[in-house]
Amino acid sequence: MLRLEKRPTPSRFWLYATPPVAVILTMIAGGILFALMGKNPVEVIRTIFWDPLFGEFAFYLRGQLLVKAGPLILIAIGLALGFRAGIWNIGAEGQYIMGAVIGASVGLAVFPTESRWIFPAMVIAGAFGGWAWAMIPAILKTRFNTNEILVSLMLVYVAETILAKAATGFLKNPEGMGFPGSRNFSSYPAAQNAFLYEPLGLHWGGVAAFVTAILAYILLTRHQAGFQIKLAGQAPRAARFHGVSPARLVVMCMGISGALAGMAGLFEVTGPAGQITIDFNTGYGFTAIIVAFLGRLNPLGIVLAGFIMALTYVGGEMASTSLGLPDAAIQVFQGMLLFFLLAVDVLTNYRFRLAVGAH
């Protein structure tokens, strides 16, 4: 009989081996799933993981990787700070939407003024939108001890409703001949998040993601606030003894993750998405949760994880167009990744022991 036994100290090997092992297990289980759906599993896996990098259309798809990875990394880093502290913001998707709506509103309000301050102002407004949306669960938690998981998650659906109102109502393009959706930012240069270097898919969102990763890494390893975040997550009573105010930490972590998600939304809506539409959001806020864990809640790991997850997005789209794989199958595939990650993660703190039979 196999028995789990706690390790005296966490295994460094499994700390780093967990993500690749989880990716491989996901490929195997996903392959079985695709085979059951009547597809050739090897071909699907190759389409998802190989073709975007080295296939026929790689010259275009490689750029798409950063386009997808950027917002994932940006959101995931914010989430990881909270997760480290034991604060579970599950509603990044809502904060992402609100950041996009508020940021876009600022830009559209001054249309068609041209000034180089417009885009920075929109970024700040986007960050504010996400921050404000995250403050709702944060304050409800600190004042009334509500569960931030439920409140932040439910606010996603409120945000989606507001987005629908924006796309069909207050942000609707007056020159759009009645179609839902805002003005397209690609025709408003002062408010556009254009590519800085198109072959790599680099726009300001990508830059922000890398800068944030580095800052978060420094915060966690060198700064007192990073120490307090880790301490609060690992030993809440020791954190209070150290002098951390739990309420202030909740406000700080929710605020940072909300602001980063809001910024990601703004970069997306003014760049790759181009305009506010009913469904411009593509679930980055949720997928970023997987990215955060796949990256071991470590900012540098998250950068890597963001690219792996982007690969499943880009490759998944390829698989759905060229192989007729349903989108839902790709989502199941991404979900499997989190499942296997958490399962294999047990080995970091535990090991299997062969127990002698009971008699």
Binding site: L231, A235, F241, S245, A358
Partner: protein, 510 residues
């Protein structure tokens, strides 16, 4: 007298190794029916592993056990219980929100009807002088009463061997007397008792035989009545012991003043503090005794700053600090050491370096513009490890990888080496071996000698009498008026502690 009784349990050549440490090596001893047998040893000597093997919680790597003449190798506690072995743990496993009878029923394989069980609990508790109302909520019971629940739970199984792990650490002197009478009664009826403790006077008064363990090996067996406590302690430690010396410091002005402090407990089923007042002068050690759960944790929280009050309730050198948090109180010169090492005083999964920063960051100046000086923190951690003889491969190992005693030494060093003017410690030597405990007490006295005001909260009366200048008792959240230690008798202390919680007559009646 032991020779005339039939042998109950024989343990032969028991060995148990964990990765990196041998808990027991070739351990052998025997217990006769009705014998009270002490298992004596420092922390980490292998006492707990030994009894866990007898109770079926741990499987030995090699060696044999014989119980009542036949081979005995329990694979789980239920098997041990069926064979007639019962155990009372140091840490109780009771549900506070359930009543006594319900808690007892949860530990039984085939619990009878509640009414019948309640009647049996009453009968057993009267028979053995351990009064207990089966319908009371466990959350409302004192530590001593909770222990009675555990003991009665064992007695209902009619055990042949009762294992008790450090049972007196939560009891008042009077309660200890009552417990000993119960144990002697059990012994006279033929139940053997395996008694784990490091309190040597107790063992001398209670036990027939003692097996002494050191670093996993049986180093001696003796008859405690024929030995002095000091001889046994030296067998345990394997070295001669020093008693702490007190340097007579000059008492200065008041360093810590608490006046009429009342705060509600943040802990479920905790004890609120009610009108606590005391002062501690520079160079003075105030010892606060009391049975666990009478407000000790809350008092520490209220002094460390984790629990706040109005400003003038707590003063450091005259400055009101009652409304300040832990960081500001450390700045004002107060350091505190909570009792619970794993998760409160230390973060178990963090390294010793990180744990050093946990409280020393402020007073040792280990941050600059919010950035942590990890190199400086590491140096401080290494200083603690050296000064307090912490056995660890290095400062980077996780706190939880250290044994309880070693971690306690590290944590004591962390607070005592910060040059604080006020030091508050809850249970300074809990779970620490005799030699290390003596070293910790010595450094507490040294700090007082240097002029620090020290508050020691402890359940170990001998320890308090050794280090304190003045003495007070915390009882149900109220503090008695502190009085000088000189001339205090055990009986007086017992009465200050609230006697035996209204059960002085228990044994006279029965």
């Amino acid at each position: 007298m032991t020779t005339t009784r039939p042998e109950l349990l024989r343990v032969e050549g028991i060995t148990k190794a964990y990765p990196g440490v041998v808990a027991n090596a070739d351990g052998s001893f025997a217990i006769s029916e009705g014998e009270i047998h002490a298992l004596l040893g420092e922390n980490g000597a292998g006492k707990s592993t030994m009894v866990k093997m007898i109770y079926g919680l741990v499987r030995p790597d090699s060696g044999t056990m014989t119980f009542r003449g036949s081979a005995y190798q329990p694979a789980k506690p239920a098997e041990a219980r069926r064979s007639g072995v019962a155990m009372v743990f140091q840490h109780f496993s009771l549900f506070e929100a359930l009543n006594v009878a319900e808690n007892v029923a949860l530990g039984m394989e085939n619990p009878p009807q509640m009414r019948e069980l309640a009647a049996r609990i009453r009968a057993v508790s009267e028979e053995y002088g351990l009064p207990l109302d089966p319908s009371r909520m466990v959350g409302d019971l004192s530590a001593g009463e909770r222990q009675r629940v555990e003991i009665i739970r064992c007695l209902l199984q009619d055990p042949k061997l009762l294992i008790m792990d450090e049972p007196t650490s939560v009891l008042t002197p009077q309660e200890v007397e009552i417990l000993f009478r119960t144990l002697r009664q059990l012994s006279s009826e033929g139940t053997a008792i395996l008694y784990i403790s490091h309190k040597l006077e107790e063992i001398k008064s209670l036990c027939d035989e003692a097996t002494i363990l050191r670093r996993g090996r049986v180093v001696a067996t003796c008859t405690p009545r024929e030995r002095t406590a000091r001889e046994m302690a030296e067998l345990m430690v394997g070295a001669t012991l020093k008693t702490p010396e007190r340097r007579q410091g000059v008492k200065g002005e008041v360093a810590l003043g608490v006046s009429d402090l009342s705060v509600a407990s943040p802990i479920p089923f905790g004890t609120s503090l009610k009108g606590i007042s005391f002062t501690v002068a520079k160079g003075e050690v105030l010892g606060i005794a009391g049975v666990a759960g009478n407000g000790q944790d809350e008092l520490l929280l209220a002094l460390s700053g984790e629990l706040r009050s109005s400003a003038d309730k707590v003063r450091i050198a005259g400055q009101p600090v009652g409304d300040l948090g832990p960081v500001d109180r450390r700045k004002a010169g107060l350091v505190a050491a909570p009792e619970d090492r794993y998760g409160h005083a230390a973060a178990p999964d963090m390294s010793l370096v990180e744990n050093a920063f946990l409280t020393a960051g402020v007073r040792k100046g280990l941050t600059k513009n919010g950035f942590v000086d990890w190199a400086g923190t590491r140096r401080f951690a290494e200083e603690i490890i050296k000064a307090y003889d912490v056995r660890t491969p290095g400062p980077d190992v996780a706190a939880r990888a250290l044994s309880g005693g070693n971690l306690q030494k590290f944590l004591m060093g962390r607070e005592l080496m910060q040059g604080a003017s006020v030091i508050v410690i809850n249970q300074p030597t809990w779970g620490v071996d005799a030699a290390a405990a003596a070293a910790i007490r010595q450094s507490i006295l040294d700090r007082a000698g240097e002029g620090a005001a020290v508050v020691v909260i402890s359940q170990d009366l001998d320890e308090l009498l050794e280090v304190s200048d003045s003495f007070a008792v915390l009882n149900e959240g109220r503090l008695t008026r502190p009085r000088t230690v000189e001339g205090l008798t055990m009986d007086e202390i017992g009465l200050m502690m609230g006697g035996a919680h209204g059960m002085e007559v228990a044994h006279h009646a029965g």
